[in-house]
């Protein structure tokens, strides 16, 4: 073997090792979380309130419900704006407007989540005088917008123009063509994008620290400080109690299972047979 063949061999070997390392880390995380989490998980985790400091046992039922409430609000706020914005970008916007809106979307996508937390604190929490699930929902809703815009736009863009032309040739107005032909054709892609978007914000912690805050008890309605799963993991993980660490692992396992299940279902089942635009989730 001559030198260049040996170099060829070594370098590709190294790239293979890089890949193996990256994928290995994923499997390590999955296995470790499953091991620590499953051994810490119990039925009471899903049904009981957190135990007072010093007592063992208890669960995170309030945080599970709280996360659900915050995520529901976020979806209600973020997805319509993102979806309609995406429709505007692909179907209506001229070159100047599409540049402006796309730029704003990219900018919003790049804003660190902690910064969104501060801003929503200033806009919602500070004037209202208290932390709330409502503020948390707004923070996560803002985070959902850019990805929703991008995925809606890309999947609409992938709809062949012959479909639009056919609808218009049959006498449909532009909006009817969009609503009855173009959007249904892109629907599976848009749903996939929405699911991935949801999974991303489901694990967000930083913006919830100063919006939803947390709560050791049930919170009624949307106007009170609310416990959420990710914020609870953080609080419990950095605490000094062994039993809280155990619960943090259990909560982490539940959160990871939720996020990965949504990802796998979205990518393998819902989007089967359609080309996924890469790098937008």
């Amino acid at each position: 073997m001559n030198v260049k063949k040996i170099v060829n061999f070594i370098m590709f070997g190294l790239t293979g090792l890089c890949t193996l390392l990256t994928v290995g880390i994923l499997f390590f995380i999955l296995a470790y979380m499953a091991w620590r989490g499953a051994s810490s998980l119990s039925w009471s985790f899903f049904t009981q309130l957190p135990a007072p400091v010093g007592e063992t046992g208890g669960g995170m039922a309030n945080a599970i419900v709280g996360s659900g409430k915050v995520l529901l609000l976020a979806t209600i706020i973020g997805i319509p704006i993102g979806f309609l914005g995406g429709v505007y970008l692909n179907e209506y916007a001229g070159p100047t407007m599409s540049f402006v809106i796309r730029y704003a979307t990219d900018l919003l996508n790049g804003v660190p989540s902690i910064v969104i937390g501060i801003v929503v604190w200033g806009l919602v929490v500070h004037p209202m005088g208290h932390y709330s699930a409502f503020a948390g929902g707004i923070a996560l809703g803002i985070m959902m917008i850019p990805i929703s815009v991008r995925s809606t736009e890309e999947f609409l863009h992938a709809v062949p123009s012959s479909l639009r032309e056919a609808a218009v040739a049959l006498g449909a107005s532009k909006w009817k063509a969009i609503v009855t032909v173009v959007i249904p054709a892109a629907m599976r892609g848009i749903i996939t994008g929405t699911m991935l978007d949801f999974a991303r914000v489901a694990g967000e912690t930083a913006p919830l620290l100063f919006t939803a805050l947390g709560n050791s008890f049930w919170s009624s309605g949307y106007n009170q400080p609310t416990a959420t799963l990710p914020a609870m993991i953080f609080t419990y993980a950095i605490s000094a109690y062994d039993d809280w660490h155990r619960q943090a692992w259990a909560a982490g396992f539940v959160l990871l299972a939720l996020v990965l299940t949504i990802n796998i279902v979205a990518r393998l089942v819902v989007s089967r047979g359609i080309e996924m635009p890469r790098g937008n989730a």
Binding site: N8, M11, T15, C18, T19, T22, V23, I25, L26, I29, Y32, M33, I81, G82, L84, G85, Y88, Y92, I101, L107, L108, G110, V111, P112, S113, I114, V115, G117, I118, V119, W121, G122, I142, I145, V149, G171, S173, K174, W175, K176, I178, A199, R200, A202, G203, E204, T205, A206, L209, F210, P230, F234, A237, W249, L256, V259, N263, R267, R278, G279
Partner: protein
């Protein structure tokens, strides 16, 4: 159609433009989507404005000195951003040093060597790694990775590179170095998925021409494919850097949260995002709170510049790619 044309006729004659267009269903759809798009623009503008307006007090009190002052003392009312800017930059640099070679290496493997099916399956797994929530990286980082670093990695680094000031001093586990390693794991997936896409967009003919001239696969990759995709790969690197700068939860859990500037990577420190996460809810007084918000403004500006650079580079490759 009919209803909209009836409505259109009820408008006063001669009124054209925005109002008469609003009367048809088409215009309602147009207005609705424009409203949503406008909201996006507005939200982005409000974020910047809020950060700017809410940080007025420290901006007036400290001026540009805020950025270069080392002291962060809430009790004395002295606030300087330098320790946090330093920590943010250092942890991100450590992360990039690990993640860039690993990410580009993996991307080359996935686009140049692995058969398409295997490549797709591996890319799928790498995208799952990107989906793992940040707080879980913090959890595993603190309870698993830090002990490993302490027992196995740092002693080796000390023995081999201990003469460098960056590997001297005591190591308590939480440090710039630990934060950098955790960050590197979190940003690798972004480098891989964007770089792989850019590499796969390099035209086949480029590879075939090089192979036909007698190059090995590696020579083709290194001298032809890689330079062709270079700008796009740099774009992916900057995107990852912007993420690393703004990453909060995982870093907060492993950096030690000490506002100081130390040459040694093994010392505890803090970052912009970490100090906001730790102190914001407890910050008393307008000056303290305003200073934390000004730190948010600094972080926003930093990621804005890096992200802009990344987009430019990625756009340049897309335009530069023939057909």
């Amino acid at each position: 159609m009919t209803s909209s044309s009836i409505k259109a006729r009820t408008l006063p004659a001669g009124r054209v433009g925005a109002f008469s267009r609003l009367a048809s269903g088409d215009s309602v759809a147009y207005a609705l989507t424009l409203l949503a798009a406008g909201t996006i623009f507005l939200i982005t503008a409000i974020i910047f404005y809020e950060l700017y307006a809410q940080s007025a007090i420290p901006r007036h009190k400290f001026g540009w000195l805020f950025l270069v002052t080392q002291i962060w003392d809430p009790v004395a009312g002295q606030f300087g951003a330098l320790p946090f800017i330093y920590g943010t930059v250092v942890t991100s640099l450590v992360a990039m040093l690990i993640a860039v070679p690993q990410g580009i290496g993996s991307a080359i493997f996935l686009s140049e060597l692995a058969p398409p099916r295997i490549s797709d399956a591996l890319t799928f797994m790498i995208e799952l790694l990107a989906a793992v929530p940040s707080v879980l990286f913090g959890l595993i980082g603190f309870y698993v990775l830090v002990p490993i670093l302490q027992a196995n990695v740092v002693p080796v680094l000390r023995d081999t590179l201990g003469f460098l000031p960056i590997f001297q001093g005591a190591f308590y586990g939480v440090s710039y170095f630990s934060a950098g390693v955790v960050l590197s794991i979190m940003i690798v997936p972004f480098i891989i998925s964007v770089s792989r896409e850019v590499l796969m967009a390099v035209p086949r003919e480029q590879r075939e021409a090089a192979l036909a001239l007698g190059s090995t696969r590696w020579q083709t990759t290194w001298r032809v494919v890689f330079p062709f995709a270079f700008k796009g790969i740099m774009g992916s690197v900057f995107l990852a850097l912007a993420r690393a700068l703004g990453e909060t939860m995982a870093v907060t859990m492993v950096i030690g949260n000490t506002p100081q500037i130390k040459a040694s990577l093994l010392a505890p420190g803090s970052t912009i995002a970490a100090v906001i996460a730790n102190e914001f809810t407890e910050a008393v007084g307008d000056l303290y709170q305003g200073s934390l918000i000004e730190l948010g403004l600094v972080l926003f500006t930093l990621t804005f510049i890096i992200n802009g650079l990344a987009r430019l580079l990625i756009m340049a490759t897309r335009r530069g790619t023939p057909a």
